[in-house]
């Protein structure tokens, strides 16, 4: 966004926030006006106004888009947050004041939305048993238990259903397929209907005193039909779709008095608020559970459960080895290649650069699968070149293989950023070093590398953070394997993140988000600590060299 008035732009009207203050006029190339004046007066161009209107329009559109679903689901807190944020953004960009905030707020909103909120939610989840079987509230679990226990009353007819109305109230017209007798079902019960006109497929076409609702209109009243039930001696008649009904009976029902689920056949399951299940006397629970707070149980499990904590240290060590080797190898190769191409004597650098960026430009997932197949024991390229060996089935070679694959995938990135950094190193410094009699190596070691590192340390730290959690490489190439014969929980190449993924049950499709969140908190703590220390040290380094 430009804040300078260009010739044509100055003719445009001032934006609402600065009404009353004429935009400062300034001829092209003319002297800059009084500094104080410039600071207080904002200058506008057409592009500026258009872009501002567009941004505010998008913000308003997002608000309008978010309103109906939030109101429908009665998410008042979320609605409040959205409203306040929108109002804040609108105010901020319609007022001439708070100029620093104009630059800070968009980034801050995204930081809160995409970094802080997920972290906070992860922390909160870590203290619950949220996962498969424990996703909803207790009320939802009760409703699911009751609904799932509804069975057809033995011997009851499987009615054909026609939906009708009488005196503005909904009525189920039920046709017994065997006798073709027609009954009307209301909220009061069943009553016979005489002289109804019934089609061959069992639909009631007309009946005295009732208005048949056409299917399309009935479909519009879905929720009403779903909630409608006709009480009978044995249970209640409910609709199965729009054309059939059955007499059903719930086998299980919730009793608030004892906070338990009971069954007429004698079962009794008492609510266990610690586990989030209804449990019977033998300790067996009903399938449907609910979400409860479990305190530090997930953290305690990660630290004390021998099948988990017993491997934690080994996984952690390999995790560090992998992340550090990943950064070191990609940085070293990237540096070598970048230095080689930085030399003015090399011809065709553009061609080489394009070729070198190719591994980076290709879809990572496909590349990883191709690499995995290249390591195949019997059919892979690696076996053809170096002899048949169970490459990914032997811990040492599997680990080396992963580092090699990561090197191939990662060095173009390092090459790119180092090339950029090298171009910022003044040639006179290296020339001066050479004149002073430094060897090429000493020049690199004492002049180029420190200068490049100042610029690249933050990138190396982020690369470490990324590789520390390099889930894709592990998941797609070895899936954590090879595993020991007696241990299917953790494999030789598991990183904390792939290990979390497995122990949290994502692999088997039965997820335990609470526990996964607890391990994620550990990983977060480790990466945050390492990064903080590294940044702190790199700041010291910056002070030395700059």
């Amino acid at each position: 966004m430009t804040t300078e008035v260009t010739g044509a732009g100055s003719a445009s009207s001032p934006h609402p926030g600065s009404s009353g203050q004429a935009p400062e006029q300034r001829s092209r190339g003319g002297r800059r006006g009084d500094a104080e004046q410039v600071r207080r007066t904002r200058e506008v161009s057409t592009g500026f106004i258009v872009s501002r209107i567009a941004v505010l329009g998008i913000v308003a559109a997002l608000l309008i888009y978010a309103l109906p679903p939030l109101i429908q689901t009665e998410a008042w807190t979320a609605l409040g947050v959205v409203g306040v944020v929108t109002a804040l953004v609108a105010y901020l960009y319609l007022t001439p004041r708070h100029i620093p905030a104009k630059y800070l707020v968009p980034g801050t909103i995204f930081l809160i939305a995409f970094a802080i909120v997920p972290i906070v939610l992860t922390f909160i989840t870590a203290f619950t048993n949220f996962g498969d079987g424990h996703r909803g509230t207790k009320d939802e679990a009760i409703r699911a238990i009751e609904t799932s226990s509804v069975t057809q009353v033995p011997g009851s007819p499987e009615y054909y259903l026609t939906i009708a109305e009488s005196d503005g109230k909904m009525v189920f017209l039920l046709v017994d397929p065997a006798t073709k007798a027609v009954q009307a079902g209301t909220a009061d019960g069943l009553s016979p209907v005489a002289g109804a006109d019934v089609s061959l497929t069992g639909k009631v076409l007309s009946a005295a005193g009732y208005t048949v609702i056409p299917t399309a209109q009935a479909a519009e009243r879905d929720a009403e039909i779903a909630a409608f039930s006709v009480p009978t001696a044995g249970g209640a008649v409910k609709a199965t779709g729009l054309s059939r009904a059955f007499e059903g009976k719930a086998d299980k029902s919730y009793d608030a008095a004892c906070d338990c689920v009971t069954s007429p056949s004698g079962g009794r399951w008492v609510a266990d608020e610690v586990e989030g299940y209804f449990v019977d006397a033998e300790g067996k629970h009903l399938d449907q559970g609910w979400k409860v707070d479990v305190g530090f149980a997930n953290f305690a499990k990660a630290l004390t459960d021998p099948t988990i904590s017993g491997h934690f240290l080994n996984v952690l060590i390999w995790n560090f080895v992998f992340a550090l080797s990943a950064v070191a190898t990609t940085f070293a190769l990237g540096m070598i290649v970048a230095l080689a191409l930085h030399s003015p004597r090399v011809r065709g650098t553009k061609f080489y650069r394009i070729m070198l960026i190719l591994p980076y430009a290709m879809p990572g997932f496909a590349m990883l699968l191709i690499w995995r197949d290249m390591f195949n024991t019997d059919f892979g390229l690696i076996s053809k070149l170096f002899g048949v060996h169970d490459w990914l089935g032997t811990p040492t070679t599997a680990r080396l293989g992963l580092i090699v694959i990561n090197l191939w995938m990662g060095f173009p990135y390092m090459f790119l950023v180092i090339t950029g950094a090298l171009q910022a190193v003044p040639r006179e410094l290296t020339d001066a070093a050479r004149i002073d009699g430094a060897s090429a190596w000493a020049g690199f070691r004492r002049v180029t590398l420190p200068l490049v590192l100042v610029a690249l340390t933050p990138l190396l730290i982020s690369s470490f953070g990324f590789n520390f959690n390099n889930f894709n490489n592990i998941k797609l190439v070895t899936n954590g394997g090879p595993y020991a014969i007696d241990n299917s929980t953790v494999g030789a190449t598991d990183l904390l993140i792939s290990y979390t993924y497995r122990v949290a049950g994502f692999d088997s499709g039965v997820a335990d988000f609470g526990f996964a969140a607890a391990i994620s908190v550990f990983i977060f703590a480790i990466v945050a600590t390492v990064s903080t220390v590294a940044f702190w040290r790199s700041r010291a380094q910056e002070e030395v060299y700059s």
């Binding site: 209109q217 879905d222 609709a239 449907q288 024991t377 497995r502 499709g509």
Partner: protein, 416 residues
């Protein structure tokens, strides 16, 4: 790589934001009275089935005067469905494999479907058995699938009667340099319990005991019984240190292509391999996976594709109408088969196409001894540890150690 992850992080962030937005309220998202049935039906399925189901869904919509939206969910359909349902943004109807039922039920994501006695009788008994969980029917089955032995009849004219025969023939062909591998059964470095289950079960192995009602019983894990250990011994004999018929170097990615390229004369796979096998241009036949000479029959897992009524859908009555009364219709089932030829679950539809597509019929016959894949949530605890035990024995590890370790992990996971 940074750029790629940025997108993922942003997407994850958005997802979390969605969760946050819904977390603001403690009220269940959809209480029936406040919920308007809006005359719209939403159906979720995977990308291969979406184009097939679309015309049928639209025909249903026309018939009932409603709009129907068929949405494809590209991957992780079960978790996506459960998560979206919980948030109140899920579909009215879900299409998927029957072994999801246990998990969907424990999350309260699907409702039972009331089929009439007549409707139930029209299905293959195994299909009804597969969608039954805790005595309730939870979905309307429409297609069944199981693995079978597919063989190149140019190399092997007659089907092997036993696994020993199969190995012998395979070895002879390998010695004559006609093939490179004895058998192609997708196994891979991570193991594959599903594809090898016919062999494991033929050798006497099993995963769960049964309850009084004949359902798999999660409190009786049987992977370390003497029978199952003996079965793992037999898999070891077929493995890399034995006959070399089961190999970690043959997996899902290269199993079918190897058969098509005549690297092996036998393939254990399902109806999904037919497109590739047909294109290979050689004669083939489909038979049941044989049993061992001394032992029981091979029992492949039966998988059933079914329609489910979402418990938290907005148009539940319409969804029930579609699932219970529309897709259970023979003509609809037949049309579905024609669009996507998988063995139909509706007996009448299966009979009608018998003469048109012999392959479908052969797969059904090959699955005659099959058992429906257990739909209990505990099945999720089986896959990883069992696959690991199989990988260990195939590589020559001790069967008893492997079985005991697997049983320990599985039991711990089920009881957690």
């Amino acid at each position: 790589m940074r750029i790629r992850t940025a997108g993922v992080i942003a997407a994850a962030g958005l997802l979390m934001l969605g969760v946050a937005a819904c977390g603001g309220t403690n009220e269940p998202a959809a209480t029936p009275s406040k919920d308007k049935g809006n005359g719209k039906l939403v159906l979720w399925t995977d990308p291969t089935r979406a184009p097939v189901l679309k015309p049928f869904a639209e025909a249903f919509g026309k018939e009932n005067g409603v709009t129907v939206e068929v949405k494809e969910i590209s991957e992780n359909q079960q978790q996506t469905f459960i998560t979206a349902s919980q948030q109140g943004s899920g579909p009215d109807i879900m299409v998927g494999a029957h072994d999801w039922i246990g998990n969907m039920v424990q999350n309260g994501a699907i409702d039972p479907v009331q089929l009439t006695a007549e409707q139930k009788a029209a299905f293959h008994p195994n299909a009804i058995k597969a969608v039954t969980f805790n005595g309730q029917i939870y979905g309307a089955p429409y297609a069944m699938e199981n693995v079978a032995l597919i063989r190149n009849t140019e190399l092997v004219p007659t089907a092997p009667a036993t696994i020993e025969d199969l190995i012998k023939t395979g070895k002879e062909l390998k010695a004559a340099k006609k093939v490179q591998e004895i058998l192609c059964v997708p196994f891979g470095a991570a193991g594959d319990v599903y594809h090898t289950y016919p062999l494991f079960s033929a050798a006497g192995g099993s995963l769960f005991g049964t309850t009084a009602s004949g359902d798999p019983d999660p409190s009786k894990v049987t992977v370390n019984t003497p029978e199952s250990i003996a079965a793992l011994e037999k898999m070891k004999a077929l493995g890399e240190k034995g006959e070399g018929a089961i190999k970690t170097s043959i997996g899902n990615e290269n199993g079918i292509p190897s058969f098509v390229q005549k690297k092996c004369a036998f393939l254990i796979s399902g109806p999904w391999s037919m497109n590739d096998v047909k294109k290979a241009g050689f004669a083939y036949d489909i038979t049941a996976v044989p049993g061992f000479a001394a032992g029981g029959q091979a029992k492949p897992f039966l998988g059933v594709q079914a329609f489910y009524v979402a418990a938290k859908g907005k148009s539940k009555v319409l969804a029930q109408e579609f699932v219970a009364n529309y897709v259970t219709n023979k003509d609809v089932a037949l049309a579905l088969y024609n669009a996507d030829p998988r063995p139909a679950a509706l007996t009448a539809a299966a009979d009608a196409v018998k003469s048109l597509d012999p392959n479908a019929e052969k797969f059904v016959l090959a699955g005659a001894n099959g058992i429906p894949m257990p739909a209990i949530p505990a099945m999720g605890a089986i896959w990883g540890p069992m696959a690991n035990a199989e990988v260990a024995v195939v590589k020559g590890g001790d069967a008893k150690t492997a079985a005991e370790a697997a049983a320990k992990t599985i039991t711990a996971e089920i009881n957690k």
